[in-house]
Symmetry: C2
Subunit: 408 residues, 2 copies
């Protein structure tokens, strides 16, 4: 391989997505490899938010629930996310947080499988997925069962109401075989709920092609919806009529403005709503989703694979042999590379001090995300050089240790 | 009384809060009497949001969870709401929607009163309060009991786990006696949860002086947090250690970044958190709360009473005798006046066509809110004149009917 920087220049020049980088506000002097944790700010989002704040809230006031169609935002944004995850526009809604949506759908699955109480997942799944099962367990309504990912199929039996898995693992980036595991769950009479937090907007997902039942996902990672963006929830159309979830707030009512004392669920996906939709967050999320949809998920996934493979080549060029926690086959991982290192935290801090922002996952994972909408091959080559220097000169030993909250 | 408009000029000139109106962006040609549904936009909020978007998200990216203290926002904003509702700073947290917070606290109360399943409320309470009880009822965990407000005390018995009431009624503005009803509930061995959606930021509330157990409330009305702003949840300090709620998301974990498989609740009010905090919404809410706190709740309540009483005087001056659904004693109502009229919907539409924005509540309520931070006495005099003209010349009969979603 020629000099990585030269190579990167050529790759960037040939990159069909190269112009999209300018659509984002990115800080000078920073190589951002943490879009898997918080996506960067699209310039269009800043403009859209200013319009929502001044025009719709300030000028339109309460009238904007109708005139600016605020009331339709959960369905509209959900409908735009749908094609990114292989779902119909009427099968996805943007609402609440991933955690709250997990609760709704786990509870809905329990209701649809009377006599079965087990929610099956894997140890090491993203914590909030496991904790939301625990919440229903503490209510006496569910039993949590965890099986290692290689034994998931064996753990499916007639007690399992729901298989809850994260499609792309947050630590390693490994991708579950959605179609195969969905089939296995269905054969055991269970439903399946896929957490797409690290998938949506990063790699193609085919919920309907896999015959999936339910899904949730995060708005602030590859969908670039902003910090703490609303999440999304999916339910296959065939389940809509039977869908009963316990967070029966007024926005999920069939006629919220009739103000009746008794709850009646809205038809369709709308019954997954609970409280008043968060308009600022939804407007930002819509702008982010619009951008991802315009670029196209296949092109994004292709570039993501190219970026991460190029990073590994650069590491090899620098003579670095790191312990890759992610699958070596790019088709089997999401848009990230994770490396095990006994001093992963310090290495991450040393990189951040150099302006290369990745993140650390307890206890020993250095996680680098390659958000293809705005990360360039030059970024990748530079990041590899920085990492090589940090490791070679022991810089990480001098890195400042500090407690760090990092929202995955 | 002299000419209402002259009178209004004198009242505005003497109003100690008159300068705060300029702190808000208000559209020209509009008299806004719907701040009880969506508070107006504080200019400081627009500035703060621009800073959060460009500076903290765009420039700071993931680092802002620490450097901009995003991670502390739920507690910080909750701590600022606390003095407005008579609670300690460590007893309130900003999170999720009012509906979702209701679910958490109703479930927590059921957990604290084993053997009791009844949640007592009143018919005609704001629907989402009743619907969230219904959600737990559908889970088999609760039994909903409704008693008319004059018979609440009689309906308290040894089966009641929780009394759930809205402090200021959304339709009539009538205020419950918080201290007396809390005492009655406690005497029956029940806990009490107050919905402060139409109280917080409008009238003084004394949760701790009333010995209340729990409260929730809305961020987008008198707290001016913006459309669909995050809500707040309160739990008295004495209950924190026993507090167990089912929406056990990772942000309510004692150590969220340890990523352990098992849930352990955070100490204190933090265990009411579920998912990742919505930063845009929380930042806007903080700016709104800051403004209300600066003006001061006692001054706001005093002006609110003066505004609504002046409105009634203006109506009398116009010879209008309307059917007041709100208490005549301003100390017994929130910051609104509601009138019953068989054509309330059409009258409301005709007022809106004239630029006077109030709202309609099914089936026959015209509701006018007097948000004292930015409504002037001149607004009130003009609104009364418009209402008189609409009613006198039958203008409402020609008002355009249209379905209207109006988020209370």
């Amino acid at each position: 391989m020629s000099d990585p920087i030269d190579q990167a220049r050529a790759l960037d020049a040939a990159d069909p997505l190269r112009d999209y980088r300018a659509w984002f506000e990115l800080p000078a002097g920073v190589i951002y490899l943490d879009g898997n944790s918080l996506g960067a700010l699209p310039k269009a989002t800043a403009e859209r938010l200013a319009q929502v704040v001044h025009g719709e809230w300030g000028e339109g006031l309460i009238r904007s629930w109708n005139s600016a169609s605020w009331i339709d935002l959960p369905q509209r944004v959900g409908g735009k996310i749908a094609p990114l995850i292989g779902a119909g526009a009427d099968e996805v809604i943007a609402a609440d947080s991933t955690s709250v949506n997990l609760f709704k759908l786990i509870a809905a699955a329990l209701h649809m499988r009377p006599g079965r109480k087990v929610i099956l997942s894997e140890p090491g799944n993203f914590p909030t997925d496991l904790y939301m099962i625990a919440g229903l367990e503490a209510q006496g309504l569910a039993t949590r069962r965890l099986a290692p990912r290689d034994n998931i199929a064996d753990a499916l039996d007639e007690d399992v109401a729901l298989l809850l898995l994260t499609h792309v693992h947050y630590k390693t980036g490994e991708v579950f075989d959605m179609a195969a595991l969905t089939r296995a769950a269905h054969e055991a009479g269970a439903l399946v709920l896929w957490d797409l937090s690290h998938s949506a907007g990063a790699i193609p997902v085919d919920l309907n092609g896999s015959n999936a039942d339910f899904a949730v996902g995060c708005g602030y990672k590859y969908l670039n919806g902003g910090p703490g963006a609303p999440a999304f929830a999916h339910a296959a159309r065939r389940h809509h009529d039977a869908l009963q979830q316990p967070l029966t707030g007024w926005m999920g009512h069939a006629a919220p403005f009739a103000f009746s004392d008794d709850y009646a669920p809205a038809p369709g996906i709308g019954r997954l709503l609970t409280g008043t939709p968060p308009i600022l967050g939804l407007a930002a999320l819509e702008a982010g989703v619009d951008l991802i949809a315009e670029i196209g998920i296949d092109r994004l996934a292709a570039k993501s694979r190219a970026l991460s493979e190029f990073f590994r080549e650069c590491l090899a060029e620098h003579g670095l042999e790191l312990d890759l926690a992610s699958p070596t086959d790019p088709a089997r991982r999401g848009s990230q590379l994770s490396f095990r290192h006994p001093q992963a935290y310090a290495v991450c801090q040393a990189l951040i001090a150099r302006g290369v922002i990745g993140d650390f996952r307890d206890p020993d994972i250095l996680r680098l995300g390659f958000a293809p909408a705005y990360v360039s091959f030059a970024d990748v080559a530079e990041a590899a050089r920085h990492l090589a220097e940090v490791l070679e000169n022991g810089e990480w030993e001098r890195a400042e240790f500090q407690e760090r909250a990092a929202v995955t």
